[in-house]
Every structure is written in structure tokens, then in C-alpha cells.
């Protein structure tokens, strides 16, 4: 648990340092996520040489706990937003309609593009619900 949490923080720290050092227009945690994927991949290579085991094992418990309660983490910021609701109200219908219509359009455009391109590709249309890890 602690080793997993430390691993997440180390990756986030490395991500923040990378972003600031190179002046990248990216959030540090997103770079941290990429670094953790690389770290897990390297561990997987090492494990393959020296016997078995799951490469993500040290971080899987803490990652599943955090991601299983991801909604909780948006509550503090969300509460802060409640004090700006009058800002939304002041700008009236434009904001409400923009949010509703554009979110629906974005969802439909994304999912349709994903499916159409997937169908165009040869022999890749296996139903994804069978391929997932149900951990």
C-alpha cells in the first residue's frame, strides 16, 4: 500500500519536474502516468526473465482504491464551483445550451468515429467486452 502510493507520488513528481524543465504544455500527472506505464512495462520485462507475477502488482491495490472512488476526489473542487453558479446564471441560456448540446455532440462524434474507423480496419472487430481485465 505505502510502496504503491510512494510509486505514484514518485511518478507524479518526476512528471512535474519534466513538464517544468522542458516547458511542456502538459499537466505533470499526465506525464507521470506515461512514466508509470513505462515503469510497469520495464518491470514486466524483468519479471519475464526471472519468473512470473503481475507487473502492476505493487501499485494495483492503491490504484484500484483511488480509481474506484475517483468521484470523491472531485467533490472539494466541485463545492468551490457552487459559489460561481451565479456567474453561470448571469450569462444565461447560452452557457446551459452550449454545455448540453455540445456535450451530446462530442459524445456522439467521438463514439461514431471510434466505431467507424474500427470497422474499417481488417479483423480487429472482436467484441471488446470479452477482452477486458475484470479485476
Amino acid at each position: 500500500m505505502i510502496i504503491g502510493f510512494a510509486a505514484l507520488l514518485v511518478c507524479q513528481l518526476a512528471g512535474e519536474i519534466t513538464v517544468r524543465w522542458l516547458g511542456l504544455p502538459l499537466p505533470g500527472p499526465v506525464v507521470g502516468m506515461m512514466l508509470l506505464v513505462v515503469a510497469i512495462a520495464l518491470r514486466s520485462l524483468a519479471l519475464r526473465r526471472f519468473g512470473g507475477g503481475k507487473a502492476e502488482a505493487p501499485v494495483s491495490h492503491v490504484a484500484d482504491s483511488l480509481l474506484g472512488n475517483l468521484g470523491l476526489l472531485f467533490v472539494p473542487a466541485g463545492v468551490g464551483v457552487v459559489q460561481y453558479l451565479d456567474l453561470i446564471a448571469a450569462n444565461g441560456a447560452a452557457i446551459g445550451i452550449a454545455i448540453v448540446v455540445s456535450t451530446v455532440l462530442a459524445l456522439v462524434a467521438t463514439v461514431v468515429t471510434f466505431r467507424v474507423v474500427k470497422r474499417l480496419l481488417p479483423a480487429s472487430d472482436a467484441p471488446t467486452s470479452d477482452a477486458g481485465d475484470r479485476a
Binding site: 499537466p27 464551483v81 447560452a94
Partner: protein, 237 residues
Amino acid sequence: MTPFALWVYLSTSPLLWLTGTLIAWLAASRIAVACGRHPLVNPVMLAIAFVAVALKLAHIDYKTYFDGAQFVHFLLGPATVALAVPLWRNRDLVGRSLLPMLAALTVGSLVAVGSTIAIAALFGAPFDVIASLAPKSVTAPVAMAVSERTGGLPSLTAAVVVATGIFGAMIVTPLMNRLGIKDWAARGFAVGLASHGIGTARAFAVHPVAGAFSGLAMALSAVVTPILVPIVLGILK
């Protein structure tokens, strides 16, 4: 200590509001589960409402609340890093879906940003409001930075981002069912792109594959949106 002095102490201590945030979340997720995770009973929205009402009744300002709640807020960073784990577990599927993802990322981000700007402009919203709305589908810290850079109001952007996240999380399940889409990867990718982390929280509650692709879409759109918004806003000028 008199009860009043005790209350004055507790209501301004981080302990009370950290505890309150966790209890509000537990209550909200119990309610969501009891309603069979009905898409309209969104636990994030419920928990925010519980805490907001409690703060209002207790006359507590946001800064005092955040002194306690910041410990939860801080975990957003590690949680974003943790998205690597579902990504790794689904690496074969992710690898096979690279082209669909890139295409969906391009089209979806363009539609998210373009349609927002078009609708707001159509309603005659002033430029600072349009610029505040444009990055609304991307995760809050990125959206606020983009908004600030392009002449928007970061606090309005934060409010719009949360509203977009909650609306997307509520609408995605009925919408995808109506479209007849059974592909968890495609459904997850769409909600992560349109409604960032709050959509991703919904996706993880529905299916692990949807969660993995939603997290990936959210990360990718955090890369693309800061480039896209100034370009599309430039057309308007």
C-alpha cells in the same frame, strides 16, 4: 468548553470538513448504488450538493472548508498517475485501438471545442464568456490554464467544466444505449473525451474497460485541447 466554543473550534478545523467530505461521498455513493447506479443519480453531484448545503447552513466559507478538503483534492494527481494501471491491464486492446482512438480524439475534440464556440457565439455571448466555455471538456486545471491564456475567466471555466463533467456522466449511459453502442472501449473513450475525470469516474463504475479508455481519452484530450482552442478561437476573431 461550552458547546458553542466547541462548535467554533470544530467548524474551523480541517478535521471536521475532511470528515464531512468523506461522509458526504459515502452517503452519495450508497444512494447511487441503492438506485442501481441509475445515470441520473450521480454521486459526485449529490456529494457536492450535500457539502454545499452543509456549508451554507453552518455559514462556513469555502477557504475554511478547503483547509480540510484539500487532502482529498490532492489525491487527484496520484489518481491521474494511477490511470496507468488500467491502461497496462488493457494494453492489448489499447494497442489494437490506436487508429480508432486517434481518429476519435481528433474528431471528438474538434466537435467539443467547435460546437461550444459556435453555440455561444450564436447566442451573442461576449468573447470572454466564449473563451471561458471553449475548453470545457478537458480536465479542470488544464481548462483553467487554457481559458486564462485565451482571454476567458478561469473561475467561470471551472464552474462550466464541473457542470460539463456531471452532465456528460449523467447522459452517457442512456445516450449510448439509444445509439446501440455495446463497445465498452468506444463508450469509455467518448465519455472521457467529452467529460474528463467526472465522466471517467462514471465509466469506472460501469465497466473496467470503459474506465481504462475513458482515462486515456481524458489524458489525450489534455494534450490536444490546449493546442486546439486558440486555433478555433482564432477563426472567430
